[in-house]
Each structure stands twice: as structure tokens, then as C-alpha cells.
Symmetry: C2
Subunit: 258 residues, 2 copies
């Protein structure tokens, strides 16, 4: 509980911007959205929106500008490698209206794992950093991301992005953590929906969601309750448990009737 | 090649809108974006943008309206179940400015797998369809999605969504299929970047991307070429192969030097 007492009561919000033709073509299946979503939830930052855009300059600029004006933080992934299709850094610079050039701090990072003779013009592209940005380091690759204003630009390769998140996480302003509890209903969603909705109306300050799933026993439902207030969450949990215990379609074994 | 000859030369574009708090909290890892992306690419529809928004009415309305004006098709997933947090259908109706009510066609679909006495008011929510929409059927669940204007609303449960895509796919207008070829460079991305960029400049009509990966032999790179023109794609592929053969950092075994 101590981390909650130390954090702000005002929610801190974020968006993720995934940049990459390979995600939109389906060739690469994104694994970064889910990781960042879970990471932010765990540290008390609310992910409110995700966008995926192609490797096109104006698309990236427009998305960055739309998102950075709306949320406290924007996390981008992808497009910071050495090839001609890696255009994220230039697009971020354009979005902020600042210049971009090879950054000596980034060159020094690259030289930690590369010989100077391997620092080709292509690899030097990875040291292009918008003016005024801080570097975002990682333990996997020597190529840095960067942080300018409220926009944090990270690699698309999951292992590198995850290491960058570990660098960024402790430096973020966080809000009070959203707490959640999941209750297995042992009932079909259509049978639990009406009484669950009634409980939700009694607790307008607790976010309640319902997620159907199938297992070997048939249709079932997870009920998820979310609140920043531990006491209210517990009251709501007890109300949902009481509602479930009274469900006529739930038999004595706790298994949903077919 | 016959499917290409029968299709339009004008690209057909699409966006995906994922609706769900559970994706943004990280509790559920999305599997629908990648599936739809690959499906659309395979039938000749270009996925140009993805957004993920929470279960909030105005957020859904705004995203639907932004995307449907910009792309030929918008595919939504999530939020069409029986519980109080399933608000997608009402938001789509609001986005189109049409009414929404229980639809007799949808009731008949539900009755194919439900007894009439199980058709509770909560389950009847799944039969609420915006006025003027067509039903989107599936083989997994009796609850339908719907199609209004250029917006196709599908379930969030992957198995149901995938069955709905199989129903929708043959009914879509498609463009000439984007062809692609992937070439394993056997070189580090930083070594292949400059000559690869030169080939890309010679073939401005072929989209070229570079995707680093790691395997037991060390750092390596996949080069992906994409074009709707099979002959141009083949010319570009040969140019890339010739470029790779001439790479000084690639040894005779075809394995990248460390």
C-alpha cells in the first residue's frame, strides 16, 4: 500500500503508437502493446489509446501530435533502426518542430558495442536524435531510444523495447494504481449479465467488465472489477460474490448448468 | 494470378478498431489485430491503421467517425456481448445517427441455439442492431455482428471474430493483392542497410523493409519486398540478391561475420 500513498490521486494517462508496415500487413504479430499495457497498469499509468500506423512520415507526425496533446505520455515503438525505412526519429523531430542530427551521446553509446570502423553511415542513422531529447538506454542493444517532451521513442524489437521500458518506468510520474480483482462466475455470460449489471449500477465508481470464455465444462465468464480504492473494490467483490451465490442457474457444484 | 486480373487496380483500404478496457489494461492480450491484418493482406485489402479505445461511448463514436471517413472499410472487434459494458452497438448507431433496437432477424439467430425461455433481457441486448444494418453471421455463436455503411462490427472473442471474418471476406470489395517476398540477408542490419537503401532508391515503386532478428548464429536480417506488380517484385528481388552476394561482410558460407 505504501506506493499508493506516495502517488498522485490524479490519473496519469498514456497512449501507445506502434509504427510499422509489418504489423499492418500481418507479417509480424505485435507483442509490444500487451507488454506496455500490463507494465503501465502495474505502475499506475492508465493506457487510454493505442494506434498502429504505417512507415509513412505524415502519418507518424499526425498521430504523434494528436496523441501527445491528449495524454500525459506517448510511447512509440518501431522504426529506429539503421535502414531507409526507419523514419521514426525524423518524424518525431518534425512533430515537435525541432532539428535532428547525429548526437554525440548516442554515438558514444553505439561505440560501447561497435568498433569505430563498423560505425557506418547507416549505423550512424541510429544516432540521429531530435534536438533537446534525452537518450533512453537499454541493456540489449547499444542503439538508444529517446525522450522528448512527453513522447518516449523505443525500439520495435520486443527484447530491446522491454529493456527500454525498464529504464523509462522508474522515471515516469505515476498515479494511484488501478487495483483489480477477477471472479470466475461459473455461469454463462447471458445468465449473469442482468444481475451483474445491477451490481454495477450500485457501484458506479467501480469499473466492471465481463469476459466470456470456454473450457472443458462449457461456457463460463470472468467478471473483472477495477478501482483505485481498495475498500470499495472489496465491497464490490463481496456484492458480486453474493449475487453469484444467488444465481438460479448455478448449481451446487459451482458449475454452470448447460 | 487470376484473382489479380479480376480485381481492381485501385487499392482498397481498411482500419481496425479494437474496443475494450481489457486490452488497454493488459489483462487480455489482443490476438485479433494480427489475424485481421493477415486476412486482409491475403485478400487484397490494405490495412492502414489500427486503434484501440476503451469501453467509453464517446471514444468509440469519435474513433468510428474518424476512421470510416478515411478508409474504405472499418472493422471493429469487441463490446457486443450481453453485459452492461457491451456498448459497441449503441455507439455505432450514434456514430451513424440512426436508431437502434432489438432486431427480429437477430432474435431468430439467437433462437437457433437458445431456448426461448433462455432469451433473457440481457441476451436480447445481443440482438440490438442499428437501423439499416445487415447481420454478420458466424458458425461459433448464435449472436450476430452487423455491417452498416462501411463499418463491420464483430465479436471480440477470437474464435467468433474469425468465423465472422470468413463470412465477411467474400463480400468485401478487394483490390489487387499486395505481393511480398522475404529474403534472409545473412548479414547484420547495419551492414546491409546502406546497399539495401540504394536498391530501394532504384525501385521506388517496391516497398522495402528490413527486420533484424537473432538466431543461434547471431544477428541477422530479413529483407521484405512488397509490390502489387509481380514482374517488378521479381526484378527487385534479383537486385537485392545481387546486392547481398556482393556484400563484403558476408562470408562464403552465407553466414554473417560477427
Amino acid at each position: 500500500m505504501s506506493e499508493q500513498q506516495n502517488s498522485s490521486a490524479t490519473p496519469v494517462t498514456a497512449a501507445v503508437l506502434v509504427i510499422g508496415d509489418e504489423i499492418l500487413s500481418g507479417r509480424t504479430k505485435d507483442r509490444n502493446i500487451g507488454f506496455i499495457a500490463e507494465y503501465l497498469t502495474n505502475i499506475g499509468v492508465d493506457l487510454k489509446e493505442v494506434r498502429v500506423v504505417p512507415d509513412e512520415h505524415q502519418e507518424i507526425v499526425d498521430a504523434v501530435n494528436a496523441l501527445r496533446r491528449r495524454y500525459h505520455y506517448v510511447f512509440t515503438t518501431g522504426g529506429i533502426g539503421p535502414t531507409h525505412d526507419d523514419i521514426t526519429a525524423d518524424a518525431i523531430a518534425a512533430a515537435f518542430g525541432v532539428s535532428i542530427d547525429v548526437d554525440e551521446r548516442a554515438v558514444q553509446e553505439l561505440l560501447k558495442r561497435l568498433r569505430r570502423e563498423d560505425l557506418t553511415p547507416a549505423r550512424l542513422r541510429m544516432a540521429r536524435i531530435p534536438a533537446g531529447a534525452e537518450l533512453v538506454l537499454n541493456e540489449v542493444s547499444s542503439a538508444p531510444g529517446f525522450w522528448i517532451g512527453n513522447v518516449i521513442t523505443m525500439a520495435g524489437v520486443p527484447a530491446i523495447m522491454q529493456s527500454m521500458m525498464d529504464w523509462v518506468g522508474p522515471r515516469l510520474r505515476t498515479g494511484q494504481r488501478m487495483l483489480s480483482t477477477s471472479i470466475r462466475a461459473d455461469a454463462r455470460e447471458g445468465d449473469v449479465a442482468a444481475p451483474f449489471g445491477e451490481v454495477a449500477r450500485v457501484f458506479p465508481d467501480v469499473i466492471m467488465g465481463s469476459y466470456p470464455f470456454n473450457d472443458e465444462k462449457g461456457f463460463n465468464t470472468n467478471l473483472v472489477l477495477r478501482s483505485r480504492d481498495a475498500a470499495r473494490l472489496e465491497q464490490a467483490r463481496q456484492a458480486v460474490e453474493a449475487m453469484l451465490a444467488a444465481l438460479p442457474s448455478r448449481d451446487a457444484t459451482g458449475v454452470a448448468r448447460p
